[in-house]
Every structure is written in structure tokens, then in C-alpha cells.
């Protein structure tokens, strides 16, 4: 496993500037514009980086080579998820620190909620992307992702519209309903993180199943 993680790290950092420039650019843009909206790029970036590792593996035929070494399929998949969680943690820390710098009046509870939401979003992205890419390969996975996003958009849009009772404020009631649950901010942050971790665990188990069936 250590060798696999080292390989992921070396591949990821072989051109450190390519990795860091987008991060620095979006942090600078957020600070200059005094908004944290552009910062949301960071968790998205952290969530999709593991896919670039899969693309490198696919191009070099690393998977087949790795199976000639003392690795089993489960550890190959697990290394991808561990690297993914590490990247998400880095993205989350960078985002949170920058937000703290931008919004000095933010309360610890609000900051906790933002950090949890950012991490959960990033984990959700990685949890969807990794099994898709392992199942279909990186080229076909892009098409599968497009279809999946269209389905999610349609379902969520229908859910929001259905819950609204005013045409001028679609979705207003949904958010009102969530607010009416009276959940404390730390609990909401915890629930978000727990949900994302459960989703990641389910995604990992699914990916292991997919990878075990793969023929090289």
C-alpha cells in the first residue's frame, strides 16, 4: 500500500507548479474580489484530481503492471481513495483558512459548517467519479457523468418545484422546511460529514467490487 501511495504522490507532484498554480490563482481571485464563491473551485479541484491519476494509470497500463507486484485489487483501489481523502483534506483546509482570512467576523460555528459542507461536497464528487471511471474507463466515464448530472439536475429540480407553493420563489419552502428542523449548526456539520463519509465508504466498496471484476 505504501508503494502505491508513493506512486500516486510522485505522479501528482511531478510538475508541482501545474498542481499549485490553479490553487494560488483561485485563492488570489477570492481575496481580490473579497468573495468566497470562487474558492469553491478548490474542493471541486480536490475532488477531480484522483481522476487525473486514473487517466495516467490507464495510459501507462499501470494497473496490469501493479497486479504483477505484491498488491491485490482491494489495495490498488484503497490507495486511490486514501489519496483522494488526503487531497480533499488539503482542499478543505485551504478553503477554510482563506475564508477565515476573508471574513473576519465569521463565527466558529459558521466556519465549521462551511468546512463540513466543502468537504462533503468534495467527497460526494470523488465518490461519484471514482467508481464511474473504474467501471467505464476515463473516456466513457465523462459521458456517463454527463448523463448522471442531467438525471440529478432533473430530479432535484422536480423535488424543489414540487415543494414550492409560490412561483416567484421556487425552492423557498424547501429551505424553510430544512430551517424548521431546528438542527444546531455543529450537528448539521457533523451530519454532513458523517453522510459524506458513509457515501465514500459505499463508493469504495462499490469500486472494489468493480475493480475485482476487471480483466486485464
Amino acid at each position: 500500500m505504501k508503494g502505491l501511495l508513493k506512486k500516486e504522490w510522485l505522479v501528482l507532484t511531478h510538475k508541482p507548479m501545474t498542481l499549485l498554480v490553479p490553487v494560488l490563482l483561485f485563492i488570489t481571485m477570492s481575496i481580490a474580489a473579497k468573495t468566497f464563491v470562487t474558492l469553491l473551485y478548490l474542493p471541486v479541484y480536490a475532488g477531480i484530481l484522483p481522476v487525473t491519476l486514473l487517466t495516467t494509470d490507464e495510459n501507462s497500463r499501470w494497473d496490469r503492471f501493479a497486479l504483477g507486484m505484491p498488491y491485490n485489487r482491494k489495495s490498488i483501489v484503497s490507495a486511490k481513495y486514501l489519496m483522494s481523502l488526503l487531497l480533499i483534506a488539503c482542499g478543505c483546509v485551504l478553503t477554510t483558512v482563506t475564508i477565515l482570512f476573508l471574513m473576519k467576523s465569521i463565527t466558529p460555528e459558521q466556519l465549521l459548517l462551511i468546512a463540513a459542507a466543502v468537504s462533503a461536497g468534495s467527497m460526494l464528487l470523488a465518490s461519484v467519479l471514482l467508481p464511474l471511471n473504474l467501471q467505464f474507463g476515463t473516456a466513457k466515464a465523462r459521458i456517463a457523468l454527463g448523463v448522471l448530472l442531467a438525471v440529478i439536475t432533473c430530479i432535484s429540480s422536480a423535488a424543489i418545484t414540487h415543494s414550492s407553493n409560490t412561483e416567484s420563489n421556487p425552492g423557498f419552502n424547501l429551505f424553510e422546511k430544512i430551517a424548521a428542523w431546528n438542527i444546531s449548526t455543529p450537528l448539521l456539520a457533523l451530519l454532513l460529514l458523517a453522510g459524506a463519509l458513509i457515501l465514500t465508504a459505499v463508493s469504495w466498496a462499490l469500486s472494489v467490487c468493480i475493480y475485482r471484476r476487471k480483466q486485464f
Binding site: 505504501k2 510522485l10 497500463r61 496490469r64 503492471f65 507486484m69 505484491p70 489495495s75
Partner: protein, 278 residues
């Protein structure tokens, strides 16, 4: 202990099937897996390493490959036909990965091979020629004190000089009597130089698996006339080529009269005739 023990190996695809293959390689020996392109050499090797699902029993170095894959591969050096290292990595970085992969990794030995093969340490893998890539793959396979080497077409597409060098390296490896090699190739002449055992695969079927010396003792080439050939017992002739100038046949030496002048046969001739007659 046998280095490789395969019983009833089968793999079925939509348009192709392999097996059943039964194959045994005693420890300390070299086996050449010979066959035309598409004969099933790579499929057999992939099945042995658990890269594809298959039926049958596969034991490497006495361990079941399906249940003990990770532990048995600590003692196996695998060189696939394509060395699947990420193209941006250099030799030094590759070594860092391998150090954390194999418990018996020997950095000094790896450095020796890199020097011997004249491989650049800081150049990216993508800049390597096919021969250099193959040499790096072999250096990795030989630097963790493996007891069994499995090589899939290591000499394919390489020039004769590099091929000869690789054959020399493999010869050195087998000086230790506990070291075994399974090497597949369609370049039969390379295998003939080093192998103790020969396994013929043809269209997914294992046609024979025999000691090389016994094969060469058992079979011979007979240059004669069509009439003489027709007078021989049916099971004496393995394969024949008849032209207007005469007849050439591969025969079982023990099934032809001792007075007949049979010439030594090469493994390549034997394989070509057997494949054609199959």
C-alpha cells in the same frame, strides 16, 4: 517443490478459448512458452498472475495464486510485454516506489543493474526506447531476490543485440539452482538457447510440454523421397513437406528404421510443422 503447477486452466472468451492447460515447471528450470501470436501465451500468463479470471488450479512456488496472491508475488519477478510505469517518472522515483513495494528490495542490486544496462537515472520513462524500458522492467524483476521470473514476450520487437543481452541476463539468473523462469515468446530461437522445458501452445491448446533435450532426442528430420515416407508407420511421421524434389518430414526417431539418416531437428522446425499439422 514445483515453481509452477497448473491443472485444468481454462479461459473462455466469446470468440476464443484457452485450455485446458496442464503445466508443471520444476524449481530450478527454465520453461519456454512457445506459440504464434494469439496462441494463448499472454492469456495463460495473465491467468497465472490473477489479472484475468479463469478456471482450474494455479500454484506458484507452492502457493495458490488466488488466495495468496500478494504474498507469493513477493517472490516473483514479472516482466510483462509492456512495462506499465507512469511515463513521467524516472529511474530514481521508480526505485522509491519499488522499495516500498517489495519487502526484499535490494537497492544495491538495482543500482548495479541500472549501471550494467546503462540506463539514465534522471530521464523520464517516456524518453526510453523499447529496449531500455524492457531492461528497466527486468532490473525491477531481478532486484528483490525473486525465485521465479515470469516474462511475457520480453524480446519481442527488440533488436538482436538487446535480445542477446537479455538472454544472457536470464542465463545468469538461473545459475542459482532455486531460480526458475517461465518465458513466453514467438521468437523460438531465443528460447531454444536457454530453456530446459518447452511448452507449445497453438490456437489456445497446449500441444506438448516436454523437456527440450528429450524433444530433440525424440524427434529428427528425415530427408527422403515421397515413396519412402509413405512406407513408414503412420505414427512415425509428425509432419511432412513434400515437393517435386523430394520429401522432408519430422519423425519419431524410435519409429523409423535405424538405418535411416535422421538429422537433428530444431525446436522452431518442430513447432512450425506441429502447428501446421494440427
Amino acid at each position: 517443490m514445483n515453481a509452477i503447477e497448473i491443472k485444468g486452466l481454462k479461459k473462455v472468451y466469446d470468440s476464443y478459448s484457452l485450455g485446458p492447460v496442464d503445466l508443471t515447471l520444476p524449481q530450478g528450470c527454465i520453461m519456454g512458452l512457445i506459440g504464434e501470436n494469439g496462441a494463448g501465451k499472454s492469456t495463460s500468463i495473465k491467468a497465472m498472475l490473477g489479472m484475468i479470471s479463469s478456471e482450474g488450479s494455479i500454484r506458484l512456488l507452492g502457493k495458490d495464486i488466488r488466495s495468496e496472491a500478494a504474498s507469493v508475488k513477493q517472490d516473483i519477478g514479472v516482466v510483462p510485454d509492456e512495462i506499465g510505469l507512469p511515463e513521467m517518472l524516472n529511474v530514481k522515483q521508480v526505485e522509491k516506489i519499488m522499495k516500498d513495494t517489495f519487502t526484499n528490495w535490494d537497492s544495491a542490486q538495482f543500482a548495479d543493474y541500472i549501471k550494467r544496462f546503462d540506463l539514465p537515472e534522471k530521464k523520464a520513462f517516456k524518453t526510453f526506447s523499447k529496449g531500455m524500458k524492457m531492461k528497466l522492467g527486468i532490473a525491477i524483476a531481478l532486484s528483490h531476490h525473486a525465485k521465479l521470473l515470469i516474462l511475457d514476450e520480453p524480446t519481442s520487437g527488440l533488436d538482436p543485440l538487446v535480445r542477446d543481452e537479455i538472454v544472457g541476463i536470464l542465463n545468469d539468473f538461473t545459475r542459482d539452482e532455486n531460480h526458475s523462469i517461465l518465458i513466453s515468446s514467438h521468437i523460438v530461437s531465443d528460447l531454444e538457447k536457454i530453456c530446459d522445458y518447452i511448452a507449445f501452445l497453438h490456437k489456445g491448446r497446449l500441444m506438448l510440454c516436454e523437456e527440450k533435450d528429450r524433444l530433440l532426442e525424440q524427434y529428427g528430420i528425415l530427408h527422403t523421397t515421397k515413396d519412402v515416407l509413405e512406407g513408414l508407420a503412420e505414427d512415425a511421421v509428425i509432419g511432412k513437406r513434400i515437393s517435386e524434389y523430394g520429401a522432408e518430414a519430422i519423425v519419431r526417431r524410435d519409429r523409423v528404421p535405424a538405418s535411416f539418416d535422421t538429422q537433428p531437428v530444431t525446436i522452431e522446425e518442430l513447432f512450425v510443422i506441429m502447428a501446421k499439422e494440427a
